[in-house]
Symmetry: C2
Subunit: 384 residues, 2 copies
C-alpha cells in the first residue's frame, strides 16, 4: 500500500525545484513523516535514528539493521547505509553517526545543506555545522509542499474520516454514566479496528484519543483519558484521531449529561457548536487563515465569552498530528484547494466546563467539505 | 497522583549537585519525560512547545495558555510564563520564543547552560547559541539520574507490569486463526483499561502495541499492527507497552500456530525462549551491560543462528519507551540495583519468521526480578 512510486517521484521533483531555487544541493531529513512523504517508508523509531538524504540526483537512507527488510520493501531510495548493534556484520558501523559523518565528509566543501530546523536535534545539527557546510532551514518549503494534498492523499483522508465516524458511533452507542473515560474510548477503538480489518489487508491503522470529563477536566483541553467515571451534569470532551496508511482525521465531540446540567453549561455547549459552524462556513479558497479563526471568535465574542478562548481555531492535518499552517489570529496565509484543517473553537470556563467540537475539513474549489460526519448538533449532544 | 513533592525536591537537588560540579548555572529542559521527572507535570504537546528552566535556586515553566490550569495543578515550579494564541490576554507573548528569548536575555552574560543535546531542536539550540552563552550537554547526567529508580517509581512499574499481564491474558484468551492483528491487540487494550479504571480514580494510563504476524511480517521487528489475519503456521510477535502514572512495562510474546508450523520454526521459537532465559539470569548488580547481551548471544551462537540477530538484547525502561543505558555489545556500564531493563533477544530469519519475547526486569540487591509475568514457556507458546 504505502505511497505509489510516481507520487514519490513527483514530490521529490517538487522538492528539488525548491532546492535549486535556494541553491541547496543536499537535504537531510530527520522527521519520520517527512521521510514517509518523500520515500514511502516510515518506521517505528525510538532510540535508533533513521536519516534520509536527498541529493540533487540520488537519495540515501541511513537505517538500523532492525529495519533493513522493512525499508527495502517500502522505501524508494537509491542506497542504504545500515548500522549494526554487533560487530561481525560486514561493517563496523555501530551508530547512525558512523555513516552520517562519512556522508557529510563525502560532500563537496561548498555544499549548502537544507535541514528541518524545528526537528533536527542539537547534536546532529552541531555535527553538520562542525563540517563547515552552509546550513539553512528547509522546513518551510516542506510545510508548503505537504500542506496541499493530492488525490491519493485525499482518498486516505476520506477513509480516515469514515473510520473515525465508526469509532465515535460505537463509543456513543455504549455511553452511560458510571463508565470511565478509558472505557468510553475503548469501544470506539475496537469497532473501527474491526471495520478497518474487514476492508483492508495489511494496511497500517492507528489512533489516538482522549476524553476529559467533568467540570474540572473538561476545562483542560489536552489531558490523557483517565479512570474517572462519568456523572450526571458532566460536560465531556471526547477527542479522537484515526489514521490509515499514514493519513489522519480528527473527530471530537463535547456532550453533556443533561439531567444535572446547568443552564450555563447548555448555553456554552450551544455556543461551541455555533462557533464551529461559523468556522466551517468560513473555509474556502482565497480567504486567510486568520479569517477562519475570526469567524468563530466573533460568535463567541458576541455571546460575551471571548476571554475563555484558550487556543486557535484549528491546525493543518495530514500525516502529522498537527501540521502547519495553523488557523490562528496572526496567520495571513491564503487557503488553497486541497488544504486540510481541523475546525475546533474551544471555550473553557473554570467551574463550568470545557466545550469543543472538532471536525476535519478539506478546502474544495468553491468552499470546503468535512471528512468527519458524526452528528454534531446541540440537541444530539444532550445525553440522558 | 503524579509525583510526590518531596521526590521532585530530591531529584532537583541531585540535578543541582551535578550542575554545580560542572559549573552549570541554568538547565533548559525540552524533553517531556525529563520535565515530568523534575516537576511532576507532563502535557500532551504537539505543536506548542513547553520549556522547563531549572536555575540554581528557582524553576520556571514556559507553557501555552491551553495548559495553564493543567500545569498549575501539577507542576511544582516557582513561576509560569504563559503564551497566547490571541492578543488581549494580558501579554503580547504569542509564541514560546517570546518568553524564551526574554529569559535568555535575563541571564548573566557568563552563564553556562545545560541542554539535552539529543532532544533540543536545532532552531532552539541556535537561539541559545546566538545569545553568546556557553552551552553544554546535560543529557548524560539526566540519564544517569533517571536510570536508577526509587521506590515510588518501582511501585508504578510493578503496577504497569501487572496491567500488561492483564492485557496479554485477554488477548490470548480470544486468540484464534482468522482474527486480525489489530483485533488481537484490541482485546488486551479493553481489558486492561477496564482493570485500571476499576482500581484507580483519575490516573493517566496508556499503551502502545504492535503485532507482526506471518513469516514475512514477524521477521521485521518493528511494524505497526495491520489488518492482516492470522493463519495456521504463522509465527506471531506480539509487543505491548503499558504505562500508568508515566511508568512503563514492556511485555512481548512470540507464539506459533503449530498445526502448519515447520520444525525449524519450532526450533527457533524454543531458541528465542532459551536465549531470553539466559539473558534474564545474567542480570544482577555489578555485571556490565554487555555481559547481559553476551549471555543471550552465546545461546544463539551455540545453535548457529548468530547471523540472524538484528539488535541488542534490551533497553532501559521507565518514563520513556526506550531509555539509556542500553544492553548492547559495546556498553561496559555497570548495572546497579534499581535499574530497569527489557530483556528481548530476537532472531529473524527471512523465509522462516521472527522470534522474540520481551520482559521487563528490575535489578535487585542480589539479582533481578521480572515485573511482567505472563507465561513465556515454549510449550505454552504453541497455539492450536
Amino acid at each position: 500500500m504505502s505511497i505509489p512510486a510516481e507520487k514519490v517521484r513527483e514530490r521529490l521533483h517538487a522538492l528539488r525545484s525548491r532546492m535549486e531555487k535556494k541553491h541547496i544541493q543536499t537535504v537531510i531529513l530527520w522527521d519520520p513523516d517527512n521521510q514517509y512523504y518523500f520515500s514511502g517508508f516510515k518506521a517505528i523509531s525510538y532510540s535508533r535514528p533513521i536519516v534520509y538524504w536527498i541529493y540533487e540526483q540520488q537519495t540515501a537512507y541511513i537505517i538500523p539493521e532492525l529495519e533493513d527488510l522493512h525499508a527495502e520493501e517500502n522505501a524508494y531510495t537509491d542506497s542504504f547505509h545500515v548500522y549494526h548493534e554487533r560487530y561481525n556484520k560486514g561493517s563496523n558501523d555501530t551508530s547512525f553517526l558512523d555513516p552520517f559523518i562519512r556522508l557529510l565528509q563525502n560532500l563537496p566543501s561548498d555544499t549548502r545543506i537544507g535541514v528541518e530546523y524545528e526537528v533536527m536535534p542539537a547534536y546532529v545539527y552541531q555535527a553538520v555545522l562542525d563540517h563547515g557546510h552552509d546550513v539553512v532551514d528547509i522546513g518551510e518549503d516542506i510545510i508548503d509542499l505537504r500542506s496541499v494534498k493530492d488525490e491519493e492523499e485525499i482518498k486516505w483522508l476520506d477513509e480516515a474520516g469514515r473510520l473515525s465516524d465508526v469509532a465515535l458511533d460505537a463509543s456513543f452507542r455504549h455511553l452511560k454514566t458510571g463508565m470511565s473515560e478509558l472505557e468510553f474510548d475503548s469501544y470506539g477503538d475496537q469497532a473501527f479496528l474491526q471495520a478497518a480489518s474487514e476492508k483492508y489487508p495489511e494496511v497500517v491503522v492507528g489512533y489516538e484519543n482522549w476524553t476529559c470529563s467533568g467540570i474540572r477536566r473538561s476545562a483542560m483541553p489536552h489531558l490523557h483519558s483517565s479512570t474517572r467515571t462519568f456523572e450526571s451534569g458532566d460536560p465531556v470532551v471526547h477527542s479522537r484521531q484515526v489514521w490509515i496508511n499514514g493519513y489522519r482525521a480528527e473527530n471530537e465531540r463535547t456532550f453533556l449529561f443533561k439531567d444535572q446540567a446547568t443552564e450555563e453549561q447548555k448555553k456554552l455547549l450551544k455556543l461551541a457548536v455555533d462557533a464551529q459552524q461559523a468556522g466551517m462556513q468560513a473555509v474556502k479558497p482565497g480567504v486567510r487563515a486568520c479569517d477562519v479563526d475570526l469567524a468563530a471568535y466573533e460568535v463567541i465574542k458576541e455571546a460575551g465569552f471571548e476571554d475563555y478562548i484558550d487556543h486557535r481555531i484549528g491546525h493543518g492535518l495530514g500525516l502529522s498530528e498537527h501540521e502547519e499552517p495553523y488557523l490562528r489570529f496572526d496567520n495571513e496565509r491564503i487557503l488553497k484547494e486541497g488544504m486540510v484543517y481541523t475546525i475546533e473553537p474551544g471555550i473553557y470556563v473554570p467551574g463550568v466546563g470545557g466545550f469543543r467540537h472538532s471536525d476535519t475539513v478539506i478546502v474544495t474549489a468553491d468552499g470546503s467539505r468535512s471528512i468527519t460526519h458524526y452528528p454534531r448538533s446541540y440537541e444530539e449532544m444532550l445525553i440522558e
